[in-house]
């Protein structure tokens, strides 16, 4: 039976996301994002479920750096998970003096805590689930957790749907080694990482290659290359699937310019379809290539 490794333990947002991806696979919690990627690279799991960006907190750098290096992994699916927290307490708690959670979670409920638990001290835990475990063990009085934790731990729900930003979301990817790609659906996203030359205009050139093919960028993150501050990698997400002519053509153009690693073409969780201008229509790519061939053969002009 195939396995999905996820950034555990059970009861985290990652587990919720992994359940959304699962089609009968075993879910295997591992301790860190790099460990989830390694599990796939070393054959201990067939795929990994990891967060890649949060609409409030930004990119998940452990995932980005982990995808840029090591043997290639390719995203085959994404989910968008609303980030509404549940605050769990021990059933016998009287006064809440300490509230624990992962730092990203604490950052996203700061205002709620100020209003609702102004006297509680916040304590950092390694994950939202670890905070819940700490509450069970009597270490803390309360934990800010994923909704899934309420089903996992013998704790009492103090508050649900907690979020400073009501529509915060985290995007998760399901990653596998290169293999057959998901079929294009017409509402796809392609992710790459590009190591552009460190000279004037090199990023502008990459973006122009996409713009000229009417390919809409959906995300751009610049990350310094480890041990080489001042040299950057660009993580680009854009509309479309590599199976499309215009996307394949754009990827070839980027590849001519710099090192490019393909990080996947997969259906968008939001189902948004690109607005395609006429010049980027598939049919134009095919007919223009045919015209060049006919001109080369001296048949047309």
């Amino acid at each position: 039976m195939s396995r999905i490794a996820y950034f555990g333990p059970v009861g985290t947002f990652s587990e919720q996301a992994a359940r959304m991806f699962a089609q009968g696979e075993n879910l295997v919690p591992v301790e860190t994002i790099p460990a989830a990627l390694s599990a796939v690279r070393e054959g201990e799991a067939e795929s990994a479920c990891v967060p890649v960006e949060n609409s409030v907190e930004g990119p998940v750098t452990a995932t980005l750096d982990g995808l840029a290096e090591g043997s290639p992994l390719v995203a085959v699916a994404e989910v968008l998970l609303p980030v509404h927290f549940t605050v769990l307490v021990r059933p016998d708690v009287d006064t809440i003096r300490t509230v624990a959670s992962h730092p990203h979670a604490l950052a996203q409920v700061r205002h709620w805590l100020e209003r609702n638990l102004p006297d509680a001290e916040t304590v950092v835990a390694s994950s939202t689930a670890a905070a819940a475990v700490g509450v069970c063990d009597g270490e803390y009085d309360a934990a800010v957790t994923a909704p899934a934790a309420a089903e996992t731990y013998p704790l009492k729900v103090f508050a649900e749907g907690v979020a400073d930003v009501p529509d915060a979301r985290t995007r998760f990817l399901l990653l596998s080694p290169p293999g057959s790609l998901p079929e294009p659906t017409g509402a796809d996203r392609t992710s790459i990482v590009a190591a552009a030359a460190n000279r004037t205009g090199s990023l502008a050139e990459l973006l122009t290659e996409l713009a000229l093919r009417d390919i809409n960028l959906t995300r751009l993150d610049a990350r310094p290359v480890k041990g080489n501050f001042g040299v950057y990698r660009f993580f680009l997400d854009f509309e479309g699937h590599i199976a499309e002519e215009r996307v394949g053509d754009a990827l070839a153009a980027l590849r001519r310019r710099c090192e490019v690693r393909f990080l996947g073409s997969y259906p968008r969780a939001d189902g948004a379809r690109p607005v395609e201008r006429d010049t980027a229509a598939e049919e134009r790519f095919v007919s223009a290539a045919r015209w060049v061939q006919a001109v080369r053969n001296g048949e047309l002009a």
Copy 2:
């Protein structure tokens, strides 16, 4: 025996150019540039020799307009002819009172005439050779002609090497119907005419498609489309041959954006080779296309 139609009569720069193109063909003078193009289109000649631009006077609009419309013709060769005029007079001439020539020729010797024949009246003729014929017939006293005219007409050379701009040149094209293209030489030029959409940025997009492939533009002329003032056609000359991957790729990109007519890939008369950046190397085009195919097949990432 095959024929080259040229903008005659004999004794013109066009005849000189046609002789440079000729490899045993019969040279057939015709009265106008459109007539030279028609001769090829209607099968009366296999090719046509016509001027396309002069380094002082600019584009030869009759040639450009004639190539943009009607059945396609493709340049298979070019020559650059230094434009030094010869002034011919009747052997019995006493005082030079009138000097005749084609308006372009008169424009290019204006200063010389002011200095050397300040009292002579200038008269417009339909070609430099027609001016020489007029001198023979006693219509004018002197003619500003191509050097070739001295060999053709029974006239006396009054001055040679006459030119206000010492390095003026005219570029001539040898045009044929589409057929087998000249082999790439490494120092080639490609000519096209493109009808870009009448909206902001459309020309910039065409030029960016070339620039991103490190293709250097050698000429750009914008000509209003007949009967549609405000709508322009762009005549572009650039380095390279359509047989090259980067040039074929650029032409496909232009063709996706607008109507493009191919006007030929042919060896440059000046033998100048393009400066090619690494990103435009043939090998990069081939390897990038292979990479995309392998990623599509799920073999690489």
